[in-house]
């Protein structure tokens, strides 16, 4: 089934009466009344779905993974083995492949209602109007619910999103994570594609940080051939919670990350780091929406992109400060380097501010490698090629140094130094 055929087949996919879950019915309604987004919709202005629309996807990818192949993945891929590894194959949780622990629990549940903060506020950017959120709701039907328990010891979890199929497949992983009061976790979403056919992964994930919770969060999409991903991630932060979000995208055909972050109470903090590297004809789209709803919250974003060959980069970071959110500090920096005349970057940093006692700024800069820096290195006898490589590496490492999870960071660093070519 092609993307634009979904609408006609809704009744076939989902029969009324299948479930009484209201939000599934709402989503069916939405899909009936809306088409697959095109460039006329502001949020999809630069992100063309045309490359996906030609692909005929199957909606029921087979789970062909067993314990053996997982062990093999763990040996092959750079995965921190000292953490709890939860494999999710084609969107389905593989239950028996990890040890239970008193720090967390995981189960399959009915899809929970969207957090009220995620609704209504920003009319245009809200997930409520996101086609792929609704598509995920209809197709996933159930969600994987991960709970990090109250006052528990620090925990490291890797969610391995594995796709494996012998035909073009559309998969819909759905994960909800709740960090209870005073919990502290490092959680990574790592994507692995074993399939030779085309995979379109449409993830929706909601993460709630309760009071005083600390989350160090990673989304790693590295070297995924035949893989296109749409990731909608909503994070809701409650009082005194702290988030560090890190994203790394490299060598993947089509990525759309939409991170929505809601500060629902005072004294929340979020640091968002992102590095994206585009090669060949990759399209990498990072959308961020941060809503400062309550006073005294801080957010700081640093996103950097390197675009090689004829890749396309899109960065859209919106900061919305609500009328009562006084004493807000919100900063955003986006820097990009284009190394090829065929590469393109479209950025749109947005500020929307309704409170007066705030400090907000955004900065954007795009260019090529600085001639003076290059000259400095050349004058010290470094070849032009190596000098450029060094400078690009330095540009990237600036973001990577903010990744605190060493076992995640190191393999990325070595990939980058191996892959960077000018």
């Amino acid at each position: 089934m092609k993307l634009n055929e979904i609408q006609e087949n809704l009744n076939f996919l989902y029969k009324d009466g299948d479930s009484n879950e209201r939000n599934i019915l709402e989503s069916v309604d939405f899909l009936k009344n809306n088409k697959v987004p095109n460039s006329k919709i502001e949020l999809w202005k630069y992100t063309s779905l045309s490359s996906l629309q030609g692909i005929d996807f199957s909606l029921d990818a087979k789970e062909e993974l067993n314990q053996l192949s997982i062990t093999k993945i763990l040996q092959d891929k750079d995965i921190p083995l000292n953490s709890i590894i939860i494999p999710i194959a084609n969107g389905k949780l593989m239950n028996n492949s990890f040890e239970a622990d008193d720090r967390f629990s995981i189960e399959i549940r009915e899809i929970e209602k969207l957090n009220e903060y995620a609704k209504n506020y920003h009319p245009l950017q809200s997930v409520e109007f996101d086609y792929f959120y609704h598509l995920n709701t209809v197709l996933a039907q159930k969600e994987i619910h991960l709970q990090i328990h109250k006052n528990s010891d620090p925990i490291q979890i890797v969610l391995l999103f594995i796709s494996q199929s012998d035909r073009n497949s559309f998969i819909s992983p759905r994960v909800r994570i709740e960090l209870e009061e005073n919990s502290n976790a490092k959680i990574a979403y790592k994507f692995i594609n074993l399939s030779e056919s085309e995979i379109l992964s449409n993830l929706f994930s909601e993460i709630v940080l309760k009071q005083n919770a600390i989350l160090d969060f990673y989304v790693i999409e590295d070297g995924l051939e035949n893989f296109q991903a749409i990731n909608n991630i909503n994070i809701v932060q409650e009082r005194d919670s702290k988030l560090t979000s890190n994203s790394f995208t490299n060598n993947t055909k089509f990525i759309r990350n939409f991170l929505r972050l809601y500060f629902t109470d005072e004294n929340c903090e979020a640091i968002l780091n992102g590095l994206f590297i585009g090669n060949n004809k990759d399209l990498i789209d990072n959308h961020i929406l941060i809503e400062h709803i309550k006073p005294n919250c801080h957010s700081n974003q640093l996103y950097k992109g390197i675009l090689n060959d004829s890749s396309i980069g899109i960065f859209n970071g919106a900061i919305l400060v609500h009328p009562n959110a006084q004493k807000t500090n919100a900063f955003q920096t986006n820097r990009n380097i284009l190394t090829s005349d065929l590469a393109k970057i479209y950025t749109k940093p947005e500020l929307e501010i309704y409170a007066d006692d705030v400090k907000c700024s955004h900065g954007e800069a795009t260019g090529f490698i600085d001639d003076e820096m290059l000259f400095y290195l050349r004058s010290r006898g470094i070849s032009e090629e190596n000098a450029k490589k060094l400078l690009l590496q330095a540009f990237a490492v600036d973001v990577l140094n903010k990744f605190q999870w060493v076992e995640i960071k190191e393999p990325i660093e070595s990939h980058i130094s191996a892959n960077l070519e000018v």
Binding site: E42, Y46, P323, Q326, N336, L338, T339, S340, D341, A343, K344, I345, Y346, T347, K348, P349, E350, L351, E352, I353, Y354, A355, D356, D357, V358, K359, C360, S361, H362, G363, E364, A365, T366, G367, F368
Partner: protein, 481 residues
């Protein structure tokens, strides 16, 4: 806080200084828009066929268009059939000298502080004053004619220089460009026309004042400025309108065209009626302004100080087509009470080594909503291009909003684009510092705001800079405690 609210109230209560109506006999079409109305306007102005055809094409295109909805300003739907599309002071049809002008019109300008005769002598500014739709007085025309400069109402240019108008009309803003541009192209009544011949540097600053006078008439003027090879002109536009309860639409078009090595500097001080303190009335200022740097090494510079209008919605843009061409945009937009502004610029880099600079300063007070929306597009052919954008917002009071929506599109590797935006309020420390030196809080705010906007105001020609500074302090007086 209470003190602050009192002060805000005080300023919002101050009445609009320029609110008065001239009682002049007017020649008005019936309400509504149709092909007949367009034929009527065209006939009334005795236009050649190509202009009529241009209007009709635009009208047909307009009928097929939909009013845009993406803007961040809100207004009740406009009934385009409930408007007069042509209004002309009856007595003005054939005036040649100042003495022949209706004394009441002259009085109107006097109240606005534009003493035509005095200004002629003292400031050396040639004023092409436009009241509603028809130009009523043109000064300094002959002196300019000696240099070969054409500065006249566009309706006159259509009669006298049809070949020039035919060549350039719609060349920068095509009739089908956008909803309001199409509407303007169909019904435009008057505006200014400037042609600077090759190698001529216009010795004086050209100036026009627009007034919207008759109730329920939209003002659709159209300005066309052409700078031929190696020429230079600085053009000033100032706008005020009398007080009205109903909203009035102002959908103008300004087209600038620079040839090789030419430069146009276009400055605007806009102080139209902003509506009363409840947000009733006021002008809708929906203007399409665009300049084309067609030749190499040409330059277009936009400077605007926007303090009036209920809604300001415009993006003075530059198309940098010639190699090494330069585009500049300096803007101060102030919103108070229920005013809304969605303004910014677009810079299209097409030629090699093109440069652009954007400095936008937004000031929001009261319940005002102020948005910067801009586009910087570096196309593939624009090698070694450079853009620098700075947009700052200043918030005064906790009920206003300040927003920025910059679009940055880069399609080659040799260009450098920088964008910076900040939002802040006037810091207590700065106010305290000035208080300490015996300056009242009100004056301190005025000082700080003027300092904040200085970078833009210094781009304005002398006479305008003074007026702009006065306008800023006047509009903001006492809005911070």
């Amino acid at each position: 806080m209470a003190e602050q609210n009192n002060l805000i109230e005080e300023i919002t209560k101050s009445e609009y200084k320029y609110g008065f109506v001239s009682n002049i006999d007017q020649d008005i079409t019936p309400k509504g828009l149709s092909e007949e109305v367009i034929h009527f306007i065209s006939q009334k102005k005795n236009e050649p066929d190509f202009v009529l055809q241009f209007r009709l094409k635009a009208y047909r295109a307009w009928q097929k268009m939909k009013e845009p909805t993406w803007q961040k300003v809100h207004f009740p739907p406009i009934d385009y059939q409930d408007m007069h599309y042509y209004a002309a002071p009856k007595s003005s049809s054939k005036t040649k000298t100042l003495a022949e002008i209706d004394p009441e019109i002259l009085d109107t300008y006097q109240k606005l502080g534009i003493p035509l005769e005095e200004q002629k002598v003292l400031a050396g500014v040639a004023v092409d004053a436009i009241l509603d739709s028809v130009s009523v007085a043109t000064t300094f025309k002959e002196k300019l004619q000696d240099l070969g400069i054409i500065f006249c109402p566009i309706s006159e240019a259509i009669q006298d220089y049809p070949e020039l108008v035919k060549q350039y009309l719609g060349s920068v803003v095509p009739y089908s460009d956008n909803y309001f541009a199409a509407l303007n192209s169909a019904v435009f009544t008057d505006g200014s026309f400037v042609y600077i011949p090759k190698g001529v540097r216009c010795p004086i600053e050209l100036s026009t004042y627009f007034r919207i006078n008759a109730a329920q008439t939209g003002q659709f003027e159209r300005t066309l400025i052409i700078a031929d090879e190696g020429s230079y002109v600085s053009y000033l536009e100032g706008c005020t309108a009398p007080m009205r309860d109903e909203n009035q639409l102002h959908a103008a078009i300004v087209e600038l065209y620079t040839h090789k090595d030419a430069e146009i500097k276009y400055s605007t001080v806009q102080n139209w009626y902003p509506g009363d303190k409840e947000g009733r009335g006021g002008i809708y200022n929906f203007v399409t302004k665009r300049g084309l740097c067609a030749g190499d090494n040409s330059k277009i510079s936009w400077t605007q100080v926007e303090t009036g209008s209920a809604i300001t919605w415009k993006y003075p843009s530059c198309i940098l087509k010639g190699d090494n061409s330069i585009g500049e945009f300096y803007s101060v937009a102030l919103t108070n009470n229920y005013q809304q502004a969605d303004t910014g610029t677009k810079m299209y880099h097409i030629g090699k080594n093109t440069r652009s600079r954007i400095v936008s300063k937004g000031i929001s007070a009261g319940k005002g909503d102020n948005s910067y929306r801009g586009l910087v597009r570096i196309s593939k052919s624009a090698e070694n291009s450079r853009n620098y954008t700075q947009c700052d917002s200043l918030l005064i009071g906790d009920q206003c909003g300040a927003h920025t929506f910059p679009y940055i599109e880069i399609e080659n590797k040799s260009s450098i684009v920088e964008h910076e935006a900040t939002t802040s309020k006037i810091s207590d420390e700065s106010i305290f510092y000035l208080n300490q030196r015996g300056i009242s809080t009100e004056d301190a705010v005025g000082l700080i705001v003027n300092g904040y906007a200085r970078e833009v105001i210094k781009q304005l020609p002398m006479e305008f800079a003074v007026e702009a500074q006065r306008l800023l302090s006047l509009s903001l007086e006492g809005s911070v405690g």
